[in-house]
Each structure stands twice: as C-alpha cells, then as structure tokens.
C-alpha cells in the first residue's frame, strides 16, 4: 500500500549534511499522546523540531452544531478525558451564562469540590506518566493507585470511571450517594500517605533531578507569547490563575495559594503540579464543610427535566419533557466566551447561539493545543532523550488538543 503522510514536514532536508532527521510518533511507546515530532539532530542535540498534531481529530465543533445542548455533554467529557468534570462544568457554565441561569448554592459548591477533586486525578496521571517514561516505575504505581481510588469513588457517584457526563444544564445528574463524603475524606488521607512517598522517591532523586532540572526551560515572556496557561505558565514564576484572578464558582470564598516555579523547567512543572494537588486537597476539605443542603437543580422548566412522579400523572410535564428531549433547551440568541481553570490551563468555550435548540457555533480553546504550538522551543537545544521528559511534563491530552 502506498504510504500517505497527513502533513508534509517542513524538515525534509537537513541544513547540515552531518545532521539526521528522526521521527518520533505518532504512536511512540515513550510518549503518552498521539503526536508526531520530527526532529533534526546534530549528534544527540535537537536542532529543530516540527510538531504535528491532529491524529485524534474527530470534529467536535462540527458535531456540536448538530446536537442539542444536553447531548454535547458526553462530547465534552472526551476533551481532556483525565478530568472530564472540569470540561463538563466549563461547558455547562457557558450555556448557563447565555441562558441567564444562576445555579443553586449546593450545586455551586459541589461543582467546585468535584472540579478540584478531578484536578487531583489529572495531575496524578500527568506526573505518573512522566515518571514512568523516565523509568520510575514505583512512583508510577503509587500514583496510579491514588488515581484508581479516585476513579472508583467517582464511579460510585457518576456511574463511570473516566467519562462522567455528570453535569446537566442548571444542575447535576443526581445528588451525592450516602456515605460519599465520608469515603472522600478517607481517600484524601490515603492520598496524603502516598504522595509523601512520591516526594520521598522523586524530590531529591539524583536521576530524576538530572533528567528534569534545566531541561525544557521556559521564561514567562515566552510562555505568554505562546499562549501558555495553567501549571506550565505558573512554573515560570508567574502567579496567573483564573481561579484567583477572575474567580468563578465558589473560588472567591476559598483559602488557597497559587504555587509557582522558579525557572520554568521540567522539575518546576513537576513540583508545581505536586503543590497544586495539595492546594486542591485543602480546598476540597474546606468545601466539604461549606457544602450546604438544599436543592441541587434549578427549578426552571426551560432547562431542567420535570420530576418523574409528575411525568407519569400530568400532561404538562409530559409535554415539557418531550420538548426538552426532542427540541432541546432553547438558548437565547447571543454569544459568550467563558473560561475555567482546567488542570492543563485555560479551557475556554466560545458559544454562539441563534436562539434554537442547537449551538450555532461552539468553539473550544483547548490548552493542550496551544501548548503543542510552542513545544518546539522547549525541545530545541536539548538532548533527544529530553523530548520524553519535556513532552511528559507538558501533559498533552490528544482529546482537547485535536478536538
């Protein structure tokens, strides 16, 4: 069969005949994402790198234009599939802004709690994968154990381990099951015990420091110019965090710090994530205390399905239910851009509505896409083996990069 390349590389010939071209990916065992790096090497040093993404493109934005607002929720799960709830909440908040809906206090605090809880799962995954690719199998297994506890716990709440689809416009799918918050505290304590071991295994580990310190260095100016957000931007020393700068949900009531790095290398990105998880645990504990009783969903029949007990006895709820399912929520015409601090950075949704039951346009600003756009600057000038460490610490998620 004829070999077909999706995109031609701009590196087809090397500038210097001594140099060689090396192709990594798109399916490379040491990179945990479907991405292709074509690198020009002088010995072991990367001179130039050409990053190709798009191998996981599935037309999210086109699909969204043909689905009702509720049916898009499962698609948003699959953007950053390590932290589906953060995507869910950002999407729901965008639609709710256009509808002019204010969610109930219980829903607000619960969303904040779950967003932080899911952030722990995402950061754990990122660090685990990076460390494993650098050869640290023990740390990987410890971190995966934490992640698995969180996933089982989320499974208890939502019925899925990874793609939760737990949000609804104007509320949530269901309330917390009995004993869920008790188990949450157990898992947080388990997390603390295990993360202590990770600190012990990695923080002063000579091999880990040699691989990560002073590799993939980034300055704040570079990071801003390449559109970087989230832990990667903060690792350069800039305390820029949407949760602090323009608070949403319940973040303005919480006590938390924004950890920053010193010089923006791979070690800083590791450490910023470790510290952010501790802050998330701190926030989750505050939110358990703050979580009020009361209704979870708004009582707005434009968006929320009628309760089943009415559905089977009265006519209006049946009509209401039918209209919401068949025609979807009628979102008033307008446009809105809303962004949340997802584990990887600024996750923005730009929604244009024409007043019908389907979005006229739904654009996602996925942080990973921007991170890949500037990754070549982090690779050039370093060793071939540093590609693995740098790529790992970028936490590229194909789902939100290629959409």
């Amino acid at each position: 069969m004829e070999y077909k390349s999706p995109v031609r590389s701009y590196l087809e010939e090397t500038a210097d005949p001594k140099n060689v071209l090396v192709n990594l990916g798109p399916s490379h065992p040491a990179t945990h994402g479907t991405i292709q790096v074509i690198a020009e090497l002088d010995g072991e040093t990367v001179k130039k790198a050409d990053i190709h993404c798009g191998y996981l493109h599935r037309g999210f934005e086109k699909e969204a234009e043909h689905h009702t607002y509720h049916k898009i929720i499962p698609y948003t799960d699959r953007l950053n599939y390590c932290s589906s709830l953060n995507n869910n909440f950002a999407y729901a908040a965008t639609v709710e802004a256009l509808l002019g809906i204010e969610i109930t206090p219980r829903c607000k605090y619960l969303r904040t709690l779950l967003a932080e809880y899911n952030r722990i799962a995402d950061h754990v995954t990122c660090i685990a994968a990076t460390v494993m690719e650098l050869g640290g199998m023990t740390a990987f297994l410890y971190l995966m154990t934490i992640r698995d506890y969180i996933f089982e716990h989320m499974n208890h709440l939502t019925g899925a381990r990874l793609t939760y689809s737990y949000v609804r416009i104007g509320g949530m799918a269901r309330d917390l099951p009995e004993g869920w918050l008790g188990r949450l505290e157990e898992i947080l304590q388990f997390y603390e015990r295990y993360i202590e071991r990770i600190h012990g295994l990695l923080d002063r580990n000579r091999i880990f420091i040699d691989r990560t310190r002073n590799t993939g260095v980034l300055t704040t100016e570079q990071a801003l110019s390449w559109g970087y957000t989230g832990p990667i931007l903060r690792s350069t020393g800039a305390a820029i965090d949407i949760r602090k700068d323009t608070p949403y949900l319940a973040y303005d009531e919480l006590d938390f710090e924004v950890p920053v790095g010193i010089k923006g290398d791979n070690y800083d990105r590791y450490y910023v994530r470790m510290r952010e998880m501790d802050e998330s645990v701190h926030m989750v504990r505050q939110l358990i205390k703050l979580l009020p009783e009361g209704p979870l969903n708004v009582s707005d029949h434009r968006v929320v399905l009628p309760e089943k007990q009415h559905l089977y006895r009265e006519t209006e709820p049946v009509i209401n239910h039918f209209k919401l399912i068949m025609e979807g929520i009628q979102v008033p015409a307008g446009e809105v851009y809303l962004s949340h601090e997802a584990p990887n950075g600024e996750l923005g949704f730009y929604l244009v509505s024409d007043g019908s039951g389907r979005p006229y346009k739904l654009h996602v600003r996925g942080p990973s896409f921007l991170h890949m756009g500037g990754m070549h600057t982090l690779l050039e000038g370093y060793q071939l083996a540093d590609i693995i460490a740098t790529f790992g610490s970028m936490n590229m998620i194909g789902g939100e990069c290629d959409r």
Partner: protein, 154 residues
C-alpha cells in the same frame, strides 16, 4: 480600567463596541487589526493571545466573522475582537509577528474556514491533512461527507 481607556483612546481603530457578559467586544475592519492589537499589547498589557476562530453566516454579507480573544495579564481582563471578512476575499493580517500562539491557531482557522492570514509563513493543514477538499466548519460542508486519507477496507 482598560475598557474605558480602549473606548476613549482607541476609538479611531474600531467601528462598534459593546459588552458581552462582562467582556468588551470591538468590531473593526481588517486593516485596523495590526495597529489595534499592537497598541493593546504594548499599552494595556494584552500579552496573551488566547484564541482565534471564525463564525460562518452564509446568508450574510460579509460572510465570516474572525473572532479573537485576548487576555491582559496586567488588568486581568479579557477582550474580544471581531473582524468581518467577505467570502470573496477572506483575508486578515497574521498575528504571528506579535504572538507565537498565532501560529497553530491560524493554521486551524485557515483549514477549517478558509480564512487567509496574510503574512503567515506556515499555513499547512494541522488537524486535517494535505489534499483535504473544502473547509469542514463552513455551514455548507455537510456533516456526513467523508474524505478518508486511507481508503476504507472493502
């Protein structure tokens, strides 16, 4: 406040402005894009180019809106710019000279909507592939049209 500064001092560079859920929106002709963005970046700290996309209105003239989002680190404010362009000449100037992030995002808008970014040296496909016909996010591209790169197995 950056919003009042923009509305008072920069008003020669845009045509209309309005508020969209707390975010200032400016509509401007394509030729004012570079001067406005340069001033925003240098004078008001809009150093983060967050996003660019386009919206297709097939029955409207001009047909496309190119939509930009910026973030001012200094003032912690976001800003939206809208540049209407016609179907016959869907050209705006590239921002790659000002922001590195323009590189990948303009490639995406170029392949998805066919917007031309004058001066961008690298407009290869990014999420699609060489030889893809049409622009899939335009409204006249049917959702079920398939163009597999490698033919399906019979």
């Amino acid at each position: 406040m950056p919003y009042s500064t923009i509305q008072n001092d920069f008003n020669a560079l845009f045509e209309r402005s309005w508020d969209s859920f707390g975010m200032l929106v400016l509509e401007l002709p394509a030729e004012n894009l570079i001067p406005l963005v340069t001033r925003l970046k240098t004078e008001l700290g809009f150093t983060s180019f967050l996003d660019v996309t386009a919206v297709d209105y097939p029955s409207r003239e001009p047909r496309f809106d190119v939509v930009y989002h910026f973030y001012s680190v200094q003032y912690k404010k976001r800003l939206r710019l809208k540049v209407p362009v016609t179907e016959s000449d869907p050209t705006v100037a590239t921002l790659t000279g000002l922001f590195g992030s323009a590189n990948f995002m303009e490639r995406e808008v170029h392949e998805m909507y066919g917007i031309k970014f004058a001066g961008n040296p690298d407009l290869r496909p990014i999420l699609l592939y060489e030889g893809f016909v049409g622009h899939p996010l335009r409204k006249d591209y049917p959702i079920d049209r398939e163009q597999p790169l490698v033919d399906y197995r019979k």
